[in-house]
């Protein structure tokens, strides 16, 4: 099994420990002048989201995780699982609501997302950084009020609600930043 040596250690490295996939989120090189070089690492479990502290000596290695990142189109939701399709192989993958997490708020049929496979099984997905969603319900807009600091909840086509400026109206298309969950702007199409 392929592995990474301490000299390959860097943030973003995907490794396997005790059968679980982890991503290295921190790696600090420490070395007393005359002593052993140590790599103090923080690793996030990609299945459970827990964080593990590990220390490695220079020359140690960690098994590489068989992680593949693909583009997958969201097809539909079938009771619990969300169904996606690999845009290249057309293979279908299912993710549970726990795996999709908050991203359900942005999922529109046909949307192409990033998907992570571990040993060929889907474990997580990321929506595009910006998505455009149609407002299905909100309180009537206040004509002429262009202030963006006053917000109101707007329910969009996915069923999620986002705080939007008061001038937004039903039927508007709004752009949301999926990394922050914040309203960006109104768009024409």
């Amino acid at each position: 099994m392929a592995g990474y040596n301490t000299s390959d250690f860097r943030r973003g490295l995907k490794v396997q420990i005790d059968g679980d996939p982890y991503i290295m989120i921190e790696c600090n090189f420490v070395k007393p002048g005359k002593g052993q070089a140590l790599y103090k690492c923080k690793l996030r479990n990609l299945l459970r989201n827990t964080v593990l502290d590990r220390t490695y000596k220079s020359g140690d290695s960690i098994e590489a995780a068989d992680i593949e990142e693909i583009a997958a189109q969201y097809l539909y939701r079938q009771a619990d699982p969300f169904v996606f399709m690999d845009t290249e192989s057309y293979e279908q993958y299912e993710l549970s609501i726990e795996q999709v997490d908050d991203a359900w708020k942005y999922l529109k049929e046909g949307m192409v997302c990033g998907m992570m496979l571990f040993n060929n099984n889907p474990i997580a997905m990321t929506p595009p950084n910006h998505v455009v969603l149609k407002v299905e319900y909100c309180e009537p807009g206040m004509k002429g009020n262009t202030a963006t600091n006053v917000t109101k909840p707007c329910k969009v086509e996915t069923g999620a609600e986002f705080p939007c400026p008061s001038f937004v109206e039903m039927g508007d298309l709004i752009k949301i930043d999926t990394r922050t969950g914040e309203y960006v702007e109104r768009v024409k199409e």
């Binding site: 090189f29 007393p32 002048g33 005359k34 052993q36 590990r54 020359g59």
Partner: protein, 322 residues
């Protein structure tokens, strides 16, 4: 990829920090000049290299020969002492393979000085004075390695057996390398030092940590106390190791013995062995005068003076951009 790598020609340090760096270098030379030290220059590329378990030199091969970029100018400077020099200093580049992080760059600027007839007290005094002159940080306090461990770890580092050190690491919840062997006493001490001791040192004023475990003597002499301790000290400022000093080992036989042991450890660690014979041995054989020698990381000193968090903020072109 190649494009982005070659794209960024700019320095990582601000112009302000580079100006500070130049001023500190000037101040450093004034400090040594005022005390009668002679500035010297010695080869960066040498047929000899320091033999240390945890220092890996860059090897340069050409014309069927093998030479090393120096991990410190120690050997050459001691050859000058054996030839009659009494107080010398050098500001030069040193190279250490694989040492890279916010506080490490494989190529760095080292300040190294030697003064004959100094003992531990005089060596620590001079180191503290230099630190004060450079950082305006007040006089350094002294703390023995044993007292530091008793205070911050609750263990006597000279008498505790490895089992006790391992239990302590576990009790404190320190993440431990699986590969750290149960007989590597100094490895466990290093783990405790890095995690629990060093972060407390030099917080209010610089700390001189002294009298190291005999197993960590490197090129320091070992004083036959009970238990014996290495006459070695380190200067820490704001939890960062800044300098390392030795009351220098003088005996040829002892150095040869240490070199052999270190090479055996290096081989066991899966590292290339290093030449046990060197011109330093010849110099020691001819007679090396008693001295204290100290090496200081100049980039870290500038970093502390600048209030920076990483060496890249005070080096024009760190390794990734070299």
């Amino acid at each position: 990829m190649t494009h982005t790598q070659h794209n960024n020609f700019r320095p990582t340090a601000s112009r302000q920090n580079l100006q500070l760096r130049a001023r500190l270098l000037q101040r450093l030379r004034e400090f040594f000049d005022q005390r009668g030290f002679l500035e010297v220059e010695t080869p960066l590329l040498s047929a000899d290299t320091v033999v240390d378990r945890h220092l890996d030199p860059f090897c340069v091969e050409f014309d069927n020969r093998r030479m090393w970029l120096q991990t410190s100018p120690e050997f050459a400077m001691k050859r000058l002492l054996a030839d009659g020099a009494e107080a010398i200093y050098q500001v030069t580049r040193s190279f250490r393979l694989g040492e890279q992080g916010p506080l490490h760059n494989p190529e760095f600027t080292i300040v190294e000085w030697y003064r004959t007839d100094d003992d531990m007290d005089a060596g620590m005094q001079l180191t503290g004075d230099l630190c004060e002159a450079m950082l305006h940080c007040g006089p350094a306090e002294r703390l023995s390695y044993r007292d530091a461990f008793e205070q911050y770890v609750g263990i006597d580092p000279h008498t505790a057996d490895v089992g006790a050190l391992i239990s302590k690491v576990e009790e404190l919840g320190i993440a431990r390398p699986d590969s750290l062997s149960a007989d590597d006493r100094d490895g466990w001490l290093d783990l405790l030092l890095v995690d629990r001791v060093q972060p407390h040192l030099g917080m209010e004023r610089p700390t001189l940590l002294y009298d190291y475990p005999a197993g960590q003597a490197a090129l320091a002499r070992v004083r036959s106390d009970d238990p014996p301790v290495a006459e070695r000290f380190e200067l820490c400022v704001s939890g960062i190791e800044l300098a390392n000093g030795f009351h220098e080992l003088l005996e040829t036989d002892e150095l040869l013995k240490r070199n052999k042991n270190i090479n055996a450890q290096r081989a066991a660690d899966g590292k290339p062995t290093l030449p046990e014979q060197s011109r330093l041995l010849a110099a020691m054989h001819a007679g090396l005068p008693a001295s204290v020698g100290v090496a200081l990381g100049f980039d870290r000193l500038v970093m502390l003076a600048a209030g920076a968090k990483s060496l890249s903020e005070v080096m024009a072109f760190p390794f990734d951009r070299a």
